[in-house]
């Protein structure tokens, strides 16, 4: 069984982001494209933090990030939006 960072004893709050993108108000699929481009500019193992709106963005973007082979290492709900941390793979 795959072990997650949580099980490995990493405190969620401790995952440090190397970069961040505020995607509130950005529509699908532009939000994903922006995430993808940002990740491409980063090194493997680095962490990108993104903020996504509820609704379609949170429905679609995590799936697409996974399909690109990256790993979502943290998800936090903050009111009407979500804060995600993505590890570049």
């Amino acid at each position: 069984m795959r072990r997650t960072p949580w099980q490995e004893g990493v405190n969620m709050a401790d995952i440090k982001a190397d970069n961040s993108l505020d995607l509130r108000g950005v529509l699908c699929p532009i939000n994903f494209v922006k995430t993808k481009l940002k990740l491409e500019s980063m090194d493997v193992g680095q962490v990108l933090e993104i903020v996504l709106d509820d609704g379609e963005p949170i429905q679609n973007v995590p799936k697409s990030i996974k399909e690109e082979g990256h790993k979502i290492v943290e998800v936090k709900k903050e009111g009407e939006h979500f804060r995600l941390k993505i590890e570049k793979r």
């Binding site: 995590p62 790993k71 709900k77």
Partner: protein, 318 residues
């Protein structure tokens, strides 16, 4: 002269077949995929393109042939994913078929038989795809195309519940499904699955954030599996939702959902057994949906039980 543009069903015309001049009934030609047009001596030639997928090199060759034989230099994309070469003079059939044979392109068919199957992109390249619809369409085309029936018999494959191939409107339709299973230990309660689920089949626990799954609302699309960041949602089994007796046209009929989670390897058996039931119970000129309405769905379900028990039989009317 008034009847000039009305399809003449009895006209017999001389035509070259195997180099010999023979009389051919225009109506008989339909079985070979040659469809009479309004225009005198002009036919539409329907090509056999299972799943609507065509090799690019072949497409170039097809377009050369179409350019050579279509009097108006046009191709039509049919509603069942075929290429139809328009305005072909019947006197050119012989040469045209020979040219098509040279590039390995077969002509399709019309009339009371198993038609060329249609399919979406499937799991090969479509992110939503759950089943290999293209591979299955190819198999069905090779094995069952042209099988004589009481009426037309349309088969299609959709790779997911979005059902682009409209399995609900087919005589026999197969739609991809996946049953999700959840592992509590790896779940972090991030709530993404409940957001990803468009069917309201997953709710998040207000405190832990962990999913509360309602199997009755689930349509087995796999969005939860695709969205889950920790792989806590996994595929338990893949298969096909099987639908029977659908049709569009003058008197549309929505298909009956008859089984779910039928594995790939049982698809040929489902087709064979269904055609067998149709052969026993159907009538000339009757679509299988009409046979079901006349004989009853129970008869079909009983007949299909040995095959459907490898998945889950449903038999409910949609």
């Amino acid at each position: 002269m008034a009847d000039k543009f009305i399809e003449d069903k009895v006209t017999r015309v001389p035509i070259k077949k195997d180099g010999q001049e023979v009389k051919v009934d225009f109506n008989d030609l339909k079985s070979g995929g040659f469809i009479k047009q309004r225009q005198k001596d002009q036919f539409t030639v329907r090509l056999r393109c299972p799943g609507g997928r065509i090799d690019t090199k072949k497409l170039i060759e097809i377009s050369k042939i179409a350019d050579k034989y279509s009097k108006k230099n046009v191709i039509h994309l049919s509603f069942r994913q075929s290429l139809e070469i328009l305005y072909v003079d019947y006197k050119d059939f012989d040469n045209m078929v020979r040219d098509l044979e040279k590039i390995g392109q077969k002509v399709a068919s019309c009339g009371p038989r198993v038609r060329v199957p249609t399919a979406c992109g499937g799991c090969e390249y479509n992110p939503n795809g759950l089943t290999d619809t293209q591979g299955l369409a190819k198999m069905v085309d090779e094995k069952y195309f042209g099988t004589p029936c009481y009426h037309k018999f349309k088969i299609s494959f959709s790779g997911c519940p979005i059902d682009c191939s409209r399995t609900k409107e087919m005589d026999l339709g197969f739609q991809g499904v996946v049953e999700p299973t959840w592992d509590e230990d790896t779940c972090t309660g991030c709530t993404i699955c409940s957001k990803a689920c468009k069917e309201d089949a997953i709710k998040s626990h207000p405190e832990t954030g962990k999913p509360i799954y309602d199997p009755l609302k689930c349509i087995w699309c796999g969005d939860c599996i695709r969205a889950c960041p920790t792989e806590s949602w996994q595929a338990k089994r893949y298969g096909h939702f099987v639908r029977i007796g659908g049709r569009h046209g003058r008197h549309p009929r929505e298909a009956n959902d008859v089984a779910v989670f039928i594995p790939d390897e049982k698809v040929p058996e489902v087709i064979e057994k269904t055609l067998e039931w149709y052969k026993i119970n159907g009538k000339r000129g009757e679509r299988i949906g009409k046979t079901i309405d006349r004989i009853g769905l129970d008869s079909y379900m009983k007949f299909m039980e040995p095959v459907f028990k490898c998945g889950e039989p449903l038999g409910r009317k949609v």
